[in-house]
């Protein structure tokens, strides 16, 4: 099993390497170099530049050396913690990103804290008695909530809870420092959008387990129903949702973009979007790289978790 994990790690490293190379290549076209120049010198100045002085500028910035050297430099810098400079925010990217990631981390923490118990419990309740009223209600609820895109959920919640009832602030800009009340709407939006998916998967997994032959064996052994569910079914039924929940981290990194932008919450997603629109190339690069790293890491955790939870692999 150790070998399996090592192999996965190696694979993931390779993926990181290729992803970063890809990312670097995308933002390394002449066109983007020009954009960089515009950012630093201003659009007017750049259009007035002669070919020569532009080349001189490139040389000064170290943008004229061969691609692979620049790539290696870039990776080296990043490994040393230097992620570049944000022209828009006029700050080094490293600390900026760290700030924003921390904010998103807080958001993600609350989302998971609410979503995991909610979706698992609902999924198990639904899957336990396939086809029953409770199953159909929960299933419909989860299709319904996942069908409303985050942006629409955000709007509905804002309109009802904030504009209509006035219970919660409509924005989460946190101008006067951190406020849990402001965080609530973004958290709710993400939870409502996401729990349905996990709940449905949990339900499917549970329903499959409940119709399996070993559950029949357990019932016909004369075990009490509670024991059948708690000891025999759950253990097997939760393997799939577990890996899924870890992978939701990746999903969440997508989700936070809209939610953070809509609620004006200063997190990672908003940073990425602003950088992309500005365009603040080095910020986009750094953000993407971090996102990929998180995704890859969650993949590894999910894989390792799966091998641990599944004796069929653990003792293969």
């Amino acid at each position: 099993m150790l070998k399996l994990i090592l192999r996965r790690l190696l694979q993931m490293l390779l993926i990181m390497a290729v992803a970063s190379l890809l990312l670097f290549a995308i933002f390394d076209t002449p066109e983007f170099k020009k954009r960089l120049a515009v950012q630093e010198l201003g659009g007017f100045a750049v259009s007035a530049l002669t070919e020569e002085s532009y080349n001189a500028w490139l040389a000064e910035k170290g943008l004229d050396v061969p691609f692979h050297t620049r790539y290696l430099n870039w990776v080296g810098d990043i490994l040393q913690g230097d992620m570049g400079f944000s022209y828009e925010k006029n700050r080094p990217v490293g600390p900026l990103l760290l700030d924003r990631l921390a904010n998103t981390g807080i958001l993600a923490f609350f989302v998971f804290a609410l979503m995991i118990p909610l979706s698992l419990v609902l999924g198990i309740l639904a899957g336990m008695k396939e086809g029953s009223v409770q199953d159909r209600t929960i299933s419909f609820l989860s299709v319904f909530t996942t069908s409303i895109p985050e942006i629409a959920t955000a709007i509905l919640l804002t309109v009802v809870l904030s504009l209509g009832l006035g219970w919660l602030p409509a924005k989460a800009a946190m101008i006067n420092g951190f406020s849990f009340r402001e965080l609530l709407l973004p958290v709710l939006t993400l939870v409502i959008y996401d729990f349905g998916y996990v709940a449905r998967m949990t339900r499917a997994s549970m329903a499959e387990v409940m119709t399996s032959q070993y559950i029949r064996t357990a019932v016909l052994k004369g075990l009490p129903y509670r024991r059948v569910v708690m000891k025999h079914a759950l253990r097997n039924a939760l393997i799939a949702p577990f890996t899924l929940i870890v992978l939701q981290l990746n999903w969440l990194l997508s989700g936070v973009v809209v939610v953070e932008v809509f609620f004006e919450y200063d997190g990672f997603g908003k940073l990425l979007l602003e950088a992309a629109l500005f365009p603040d190339v080095e910020v986009v690069q750094a953000c993407t790289l971090v996102a990929v790293a998180v995704a890859v890491l969650s993949q590894i955790i999910s894989d390792i978790g799966y091998t641990f939870l599944n004796p069929r692999i653990r003792f293969a």
């Binding site: 933002f27 299709v143 409303i148 309109v159 809209v258 629109l277 993407t288």
Partner: protein
């Protein structure tokens, strides 16, 4: 016109349910719509008539669809939602609607009258009719969403078949590329690609392909790995059939079932993605109406209970379309499990 078709009796409907007839009807609906949206001004005066044949085709497809799905109430509801918007898309030019891009009177609340015009859904901050914008707004989402999903499917299924059937190095390479792409969170990938290519409908197709094809490839690959161990594939191999023949004739038709369910779900995701991207300013561009755009444009001004309809209308519209796709997927899955 559709009415006469229905009156022709069940045998005519039966005949129309043949796959070939369905495809023909589908094209009759789709091609005009697609050229209308993608062709834009290039169509010239033809633009006024091109969508006419699509209307009966859409109605007929809906009737056939309800017939085919009648066993699952969920699927019929989903189908109805989706076809409501499809019909809106093809019929929009012929409906008695106000010009969606013309400012008339700003901030008119729903169900009220202003300048002798009754506004069912009010007007937005620029004074454009919301009802008209909502109905016109579905065209671009549907056309680009379906096109993008379709392209992603062709690419994903192709690579999935190759990777699953040929195995070996093909599989290693294709799977690796898919893994690299899958390790980008979807929205991040969208942002990077659209930032690189610039925002436009065609680029959305590209971005969706990069984002969805790897997942589709994985599904098709899994199905292929399962199906290729069947004896009929073995039989084809032992008669010396070319791998291409085996992939297309022996494997592809049999991965169709699960794929159709997934395709419905994915149509939903793509719709979400397009709306979201447009909201973020990376997708479709003004001035033509679009749901994402409607949200984007009024997100700042509509932050009052009184004006919240400007956000609610597009939000509910997009949700209903996605709900339609998801319910269809659910119903189809349920039906496929039953027999």
């Amino acid at each position: 016109m559709a009415v006469t078709e229905i009156e022709a009796g069940p045998s005519a409907l039966e005949r129309l349910s043949h796959p070939r007839a369905l495809i023909a009807l589908g094209l009759l609906m789709w091609l005009p719509l697609m050229s209308y949206v993608m062709g834009g001004s290039a169509l010239g005066p033809a633009a006024d008539y091109i969508l006419l044949p699509a209307i009966p085709a859409t109605l007929l497809l809906y009737v056939l669809g309800v017939r085919a799905f009648r066993e699952s109430r969920v699927a019929v509801i989903g189908l109805t939602l989706v076809f409501f918007w499809l019909l809106a898309a093809v019929a929009a030019p012929y409906l008695p609607l106000l010009d969606p891009n013309k400012p008339i009177a700003p901030f008119v609340t729903p169900l009220s009258e202003k300048r002798d015009v009754f506004f069912w859904l009010g007007t937005d901050f620029k004074g454009r009719d919301m009802l008209s914008r909502m109905i016109w707004g579905c065209q671009r989402v549907i056309v680009w969403g379906v096109s993008a999903t379709f392209v992603a499917y062709v690419v994903g299924a192709l690579f999935g078949l190759i990777s699953g059937y040929l195995s070996g190095w093909w599989d290693e390479i294709i799977s690796f590329v898919a893994n690299v792409l899958l390790s980008f969170p979807v929205m991040v990938l969208f942002i990077v690609i659209l930032n690189y290519l610039g925002p436009s409908g065609f680029n959305i197709v590209v971005a969706v392909t990069f984002a969805s094809a790897p997942a589709i490839m994985r599904i098709v690959r899994g199905l292929t790995l399962d199906i290729k161990t069947r004896d009929y594939v073995f039989a084809a191999q032992t008669r010396g059939e070319h791998p291409l023949y085996i992939m297309i004739v022996e494997l592809l038709p049999n991965v169709r079932g699960p794929i159709i369910v997934d395709a419905c779900l994915r149509l939903g995701y793509t719709t979400v993605a397009i709306t979201t991207l447009t909201f973020l300013g990376l997708g479709l561009q003004p001035p033509d109406p679009d749901w994402g755009l409607m949200i984007r444009e009024s997100a700042k001004t509509a932050m009052l209970w009184k004006f919240s309809y400007m956000l609610l209308v597009p939000a509910l519209a997009v949700s209903s379309l996605i709900l339609g796709f998801n319910l269809m997927a659910d119903g189809l899955r349920e039906m496929s499990l039953r027999d």
